[in-house]
């Protein structure tokens, strides 16, 4: 991934319809970069091909083997 910069921040905020106050720009950029590092980690995780659920909803009780622990 290309590291997010101020120009990208402007484009993303326009796309999202959110104004970034001038005094927040540096802080938002710093947090976005932390998130980008987190995103790199989740994409690096060796998930099996069928790991994606049809919808991004977390249902812990639907995981296999869960009830075996009662």
């Amino acid at each position: 991934m290309k590291q997010v910069d101020m120009d990208m921040l402007e484009q993303l905020s326009a796309l999202a319809g959110v104004d970034i106050p001038e005094d927040s720009r540096a802080g938002v950029l710093a947090h976005l970069r932390v998130a980008q590092g987190m995103a790199e980690k989740v994409f690096a995780a060796p998930l099996p091909a069928d790991a994606l659920e049809p919808a991004p909803v977390f249902r812990p009780w639907s995981c296999s083997g869960l009830d075996n622990h009662d």
């Binding site: 993303l12 104004d19 989740v42 977390f58 009780w61 622990h69």
Partner: protein, 470 residues
Amino acid sequence: MTDANLPLAADIADAVRSGDISAAAIIADTLASIEALNPTLNCFTEVLAQRATERAAQLDARRAAGQDPGPLAGVPFAVKNLFDIAGVTTLAGSKINRDNPVATRDAVLVERLENAGAILVGALAMGEYAYDFTGENEHYGACRNPWDPARMSGGSSSGSGSATAAGLAPISLGSDTNGSIRVPSSLCGLFGLKPTYGRLPRTGSYPFCDSLDHLGPLARSSADLALAFDCLQGFDAGDPACAERPSLPTHERLDLGVDGLRCAVAGGYFDCTAFPEAQAAVAQVAAALGASRELELPGADAGRSAAYLVTNAEGAALHRERLRQRPQDFDADTRDRFLAGTLWPAGWYVRAQAVRRWWLEQMLAVFREVDIVIAPATPCCAPAVGTTTLNVRGELQALRPNLGLFTQPFSAVGLPVVSVPLWSESAGLPIGVQLVAAPWREDLCLRAARALETAGITLRATPPVSSAGS
């Protein structure tokens, strides 16, 4: 540290039930202690003197009439100010919510504790919109640690940690999205329970991140924690995430001991060689529970990252209109993090949800061989108020997110965890250790906590700022 012990919830309930003391006297003492200590600790945002006094009188009348006053008879409790309290505005630690109307009814968990005889004495401080691990709050000031008021209480259930440690509420309720019960429990020297995701209903509480929000109790003993947990359980249709499962009695199982329980230490991501206070605490617990095996848990780092992305994406979506309309009314750091969360690609969020499932499958495999996983709760004891950085394995990083470094991977997949308090000789402060079990097995976490308490491993002292000295 003093040797004087504050009364536990179980002791108070026994005394009130037997008629040795009235609930009215307990509440009067508690209100006086809150008035004396809150200026130092800043842990209460609302004190419900009239309501508590009336409820205490009603309870005493019921007992005098021969009715059962309940298992928590006369026990004062308080709740993080994201729980609805009838007649009070639910602040959720924010300035913005001050403009909201007052709640018209109590949160379900408040009702359940009161139905068990406990008496609500107030609403407690918290980090803004629960997005905090420090206990600092730009709008209401820092909540202080009773072990040293110059230090952080931890957050975001900061008031819960501070008030319960100081003896102002033997039981408190908090919320834990990424560690917000376990971090203040660690820093304030308490037992804290984050139950399995879906165990306790969140009906009538202000949300942060629906996929990860849990509610739970903090207390000064494992027995008080179990007593409260047993009273809190039960399905409620008002929370779509609440699982329809039978209640799990834990108090009656507390003394079953740990013989036969397979305990192991979390290594890899959870290695705390670089954090000597945490390392010493984990070693003590591991030795006491006979845990010689170390687990690598290779998915933990990605699991933590997933929690970070899910939390901020959902939290930012929740607050989007407030971020657009009133950005100046947020705590600056909360605002900047939420604003960042409005911007990132949906694909990050979807991948993070998939990683959570993958990481949970790894943990379920672990629990086929192990009953309790032992891990540090926080990397360090309570930092001084105002501290902004933490040395994370040689790299100076922001303190605020990293106090939850070790709690986040487990809440990411909804596992039940009890944080137990130990004493750090080197720091002269408390520090917590997490006991993690398979989904729905809170009883095992509590049993292990009880065994550590009985063996004298956990902290049972009274902090310098407490109702014992007020």
